[in-house]
């Protein structure tokens, strides 16, 4: 492997990271929205949310990517590979995130909510200042776990031609006829990314833990 090869894998890593981050930024709030719909039992939307989560939870990332990229143009939505890849990962993670958020919502102590109500807080304020910080805190470990799973599923977008880490490694291997070194390097890069996520999680947990000790 030449220096350029290492560089191209690192470059691909940037693609992996940015695609993953954008997917997370889309998927996590989407999951929260779905969870809130389920939690407040909005009619019709509740059922749609249940079906959505059920289907997306069980759909392989590769198949979803192919579906979004090749099938959406038929109903008028034509996506480039990278947006399609981001959408794939975002939708996939949103289903799992919805379940994580929903669990935190149902475990939220009812009396805190009632206390805010009795103080005359309006609905949105109630949610923002009382519930949200706490459900974020309790969901965080599971959410970060899901993020690491997303990173490990990100090679699925290679099927759309996106040059992320795995694809870059394969290219180099195909050229040099020595596939092992780039694969091992790719492995190392993935591990570093996952490791970075886990560390970030612990740091955030610590910060929240100090701020949010039960009164």
């Amino acid at each position: 492997m030449t220096a350029y090869d290492y560089y191209s894998i690192v470059h691909a890593a940037l693609a992996t990271i940015s695609i993953s981050l954008l997917s997370i930024l889309l998927g996590v709030p989407l999951g929260l929205g779905l969870a809130l719909i389920r939690w407040s039992r909005v009619p019709v939307l509740n059922e749609i949310a249940i079906v959505y989560v059920s289907i997306l939870r069980t759909c392989p990332s590769v198949t979803l990517a192919l579906l979004l990229f090749f099938a959406l143009p038929e109903i008028g939505i034509s996506l480039e590979p990278v947006p399609a890849g981001i959408l794939t990962l975002a939708l996939g993670t949103s289903a799992f995130d919805a379940e994580i958020w929903r669990s935190a919502l149902t475990n939220f102590p009812r009396d805190q909510y009632d206390a805010a109500l009795s103080l005359g807080m309006r609905r949105f304020t109630r949610f923002r200042r009382v519930m949200l910080p706490q459900i974020v805190r309790s969901s965080l470990p599971a959410l970060v776990n899901e993020m690491t799973l997303l990173i490990k599923a990100s090679p699925a977008v290679a099927v759309l031609g996106i040059v992320e880490i795995t694809r870059a490694a394969i290219r180099i291997g195909a050229r040099t006829y020595q596939p092992l070194p780039p694969f091992i390097f790719a492995l190392v890069i993935y591990s570093l990314i996952v490791f970075a996520f886990v560390r970030a999680q612990r740091a955030v947990e610590r910060r929240y833990a100090l701020a949010g000790a039960p009164a």
Binding site: S54, T58, C59, P60, T63, I75, P155, T166, P179, L187
Partner: protein, 217 residues
């Protein structure tokens, strides 16, 4: 709607792909569960070195993206002299990869077992393989049932990655149908529907078995 008619007309492709997916999942899951049960033993070993080695294997598998692992076996091993065809690679990858997850979840269920139950096994003269097979393993499997179900669903989803090494499973056949008959929407929707049905079937079976398991906890 035209599209779905075409897909139905050529449904053999999708059906074959679906059958292959089921075969791959069945073999992969069985292998992963058996290997995982064997792995649980060193994961629970008292000797630090043995436990560390097994834990290293589990951590390694949990670090690697599955597709990269498949490539490692398919493209990487030949440079060491080991060449596998795409089916063998796929099933081997599923088994090895998921055995780590199965092993870990079985280990957790084992560690959660009330200690006295196992002690009673020793006290009555059980030891070694017999103790493991008759006293430890059955309750562990029963208590880990929901998590085993989840892992099975993961195996179904991972099987789709094998399309990239040209294994004729469901996603691969849906893609082939799409490129041959220009019916992307219908073919991929059909594939997604079949994955969904499979996973719901797994969840239903686990739910049913869970009632059987409840009594025995």
């Amino acid at each position: 709607m035209n599209e779905f008619a075409v897909v139905w007309q050529h449904r053999d492709m999708i059906v074959t792909g679906f059958e292959n997916t089921l075969i791959i999942v069945a073999l992969g899951a069985t292998g992963a569960l058996v290997l995982g049960a064997l792995l649980a033993v060193p994961l629970m070993a008292r000797q630090r070195a043995i436990r560390a080695a097994a834990t290293a294997y589990v951590d390694a598998m949990r670090c690697v993206p599955f597709l990269l692992f498949v490539y490692l076996i398919y493209y990487g091993l030949p440079s060491l002299g080991l060449r596998f065809d795409n089916w063998s690679t796929g099933i081997a990858a599923l088994v090895l990869y998921n055995s780590a997850y199965m092993g870990e979840l079985l280990r957790a269920a084992w560690a959660d077992m009330p200690h006295e139950q196992i002690e009673a096994g020793y006290a009555f003269g059980f030891s070694g393989l017999q103790l493991f097979r008759r006293i430890i393993l059955p309750p562990v499997l029963l208590s880990a049932l929901p998590l085993i179900g989840n892992q099975l669903i993961q195996i179904v989803k991972d099987s789709a990655f094998l399309t990239i090494i040209a294994v004729a499973e469901l996603t691969h056949e849906a893609t082939a149908m799409q490129t041959t008959y220009f019916v992307p929407f219908a073919s991929f929707i059909a594939a997604v529907a079949l994955y969904w049905v499979t996973c719901i079937g797994i969840e239903g079976t686990v739910g049913y078995l869970n009632r059987f398991a409840e009594e025995r906890r």
